[in-house]
Amino acid sequence: MDFQVIYDRIRSIKAPGVIGCDEPREPNPEDKKDKGRFGDSFVLVEPERLPEFLECVRDDALLKFELMADLSATDPSKDDENLWINVQLLSLTHKHRLAVKCFLPKANPVMPTSAPVHRGAQWAERECGEMYGITFEGHPDPRNILLPEDWIGAPMRKDYEYPEEYHGISCK
């Protein structure tokens, strides 16, 4: 199924938390500043209801997104108020993909965990949490995974300040 059909189906089954969708578009020739947007289409979902959404599209017979390929975050820029949560879903039954995006405010980066829906999300959320300083509520094992337990700050944030030393080792 192509994106439009998938999105219509998501609309018609009233999947929880859907805000809208975004599709690539050509640049507007009259406005020189508008460069358009390329790449993938994605569905916008409220972060608070992401687990419900994932469960809904996993169990729907026509969508069947049974495999979560990836869960990660993006910090679009220093000035942006939101982080993005990017989820890549894959349906083995129907051979289609879906990109899901949530806007999570940097002021309060807390959202529920998706681990009960996709067990694979557990490690992905651990990585995402430590790198962007996001708290996943209800996560069964919220320790750091790649960074040391005592690492300060969220290194993948655009406003991250590099440490000067770590346990007496100079980082300059």
Binding site: P24, K35, G36, R37, F38, G39, D40, F42, E66, L67, M68, A69, D70, S72, T74, D75, P76, S77, N86, Q88, L90, L92, K95, R97, A99, H118, R119, G120, A121, Q122, W123, A124, E127, M131, N144, I145, L146, L147, P148, P155, M156, K158
Partner: protein, 402 residues
């Protein structure tokens, strides 16, 4: 090493899956202390620097906790600080056994944003190199897997063939391990004269040698005894953990990105019926056990040879790289491209704001997702089988940690 006085036979009973022959029943009657053993960070079977904290009740594993991060080199952060073309050599370094496939994944993700057309000869060379690299990667996977559980000879045989493969890559791009050969827009160097016929000679020899591996290792009685019925991954579990690649096909899930979401020339190759997707059937034991996963890898090497032969048959002279400027400015947008790496789905998620540097360069490494299954697989097995299970996941620590 630390010990605790608590004894919970219920853990062993609930988690341990006994065989019909009742081989492990005696373990439950033995009263022992729980013990925590560190496997790693330097352990020959972890193939890199990884630590698995194993909780044992005698010989029985009751819990396993992988600790990663020893090889974390901030690949994603570097991706946000260097130019698009400059990032390519870093992709070699996460899954260093399949660097060609990493180059391909990253290039395809950037090309998806640029919307450029790749010359046909470049795609042919890309496919040949990616498949040869898949063979090399699986040779290591199978060879070291045998080595981990005691079969030293096949390992030496497999390195012999891998050496030839690396010599082929050396001739085409000058490097033996970190190639950076597949570039954004095509490949960086045309095949030198006589290279394609050398690849054909490699294919001819490999087909003969492959039979040796199959007989010497896969059908070896000791190997089968060590690997069958161990570390069984069910269909549901594989999907729940987001496993991909041979781990998925080892549980008889018919899924291969080369066929199901075709990219490059794979659509054409599949329509020509040039290759098949090997699916495990539980031949030597339970479906989804470690032997099945090793079997899938061994069979896939032959399929890669078929794909290489198809390309050698069809390859024609022509340009090898599309016209791209020296300083790339990628149009704004975001794209996720997943390709079939030897270990599973290698995804690159790139975000551009129209500038010279990526806003985000996310790498979805298959080893990372595949390793998570250890926590679930290990409890209930014997300590000696833990090695067989870790080996069957075929992780590259450079990729789990990135």
């Amino acid at each position: 090493m630390s010990t605790t006085d608590t004894y919970e036979p219920s853990i062993a009973q609930s988690k341990g899956e006994l065989l019909d022959s009742g081989e492990r029943e005696y373990m439950l009657d033995v009263r022992t202390q729980d013990m925590e053993v560190n496997m790693g960070p330097q352990h020959p079977a972890t193939h890199g620097v990884m630590r698995v904290l194993i909780r044992c009740d005698g010989e029985l594993v009751t819990g396993a906790q992988p600790h990663l991060g020893y090889l974390h080199r901030c690949a994603e952060k570097i991706g946000e600080n260097v130019e698009w073309l400059q990032y390519l050599p870093y992709t070699d370094r996460y899954d260093y056994l399949a660097a060609m496939n990493n180059n391909l994944g990253y290039s395809m993700a950037v090309e998806a944003l640029m919307g450029i057309e790749i010359p046909r000869r470049a795609m042919m060379l890309r496919t040949i190199c990616a498949e040869l690299n898949r063979i090399g990667s699986h040779l290591i996977a199978i060879g070291t897997y045998g080595l981990d559980i005691g079969a030293i000879t096949p390992f030496l045989y497999m390195f012999r063939e891998r050496e030839w493969m690396m010599a082929l890559f050396e001739k085409i791009c000058g490097a033996r391990l970190t190639y950076s050969y597949i570039r954004i827009g095509g490949v960086f160097n045309d095949a030198p004269p006589g290279w394609l016929s050398e690849v054909e000679a490699f294919c001819d020899t490999f087909e003969v040698k492959w039979k040796e591996y199959y007989d010497l290792l896969m059908q070896n009685h000791i190997f089968v005894q060590r690997t069958a019925n161990i570390g069984v991954i069910s269909r549901e579990m594989a999907l729940d953990f987001g496993l991909t690649g041979p781990m998925l096909r080892g549980s008889n899930i018919d899924w291969d990105l080369r066929r199901d979401t075709p990219y490059e020339l794979y659509d054409e190759i599949w329509k020509d019926k040039a290759f098949e997707i090997p699916l495990a059937s539980g031949e030597k034991g339970t479906l989804g056990d470690t032997w099945d996963r090793a079997w899938v890898r061994v069979m896939e090497m032959m399929e890669s040879i078929k794909i290489v032969r198809w390309c050698l048959d069809k390859v024609e002279p022509g340009p090898i790289i599309a016209e791209i400027p020296k300083t790339l400015r990628i149009p704004p947008g975001e794209a996720y491209v997943g390709i079939e790496n030897p270990r599973g789905e290698l995804g690159h998620y790139v975000v551009s704001d129209g500038g010279k540097i990526a806003v985000r360069c996310r790498v979805r490494g298959p080893s990372f997702a595949n390793l998570a299954v250890l926590e679930e697989l290990m409890p209930g097995t014997l300590l000696a089988d833990a090695i067989a299970i870790i080996g069957s996941t075929d992780i590259v620590v450079g990729e789990t940690d990135r």
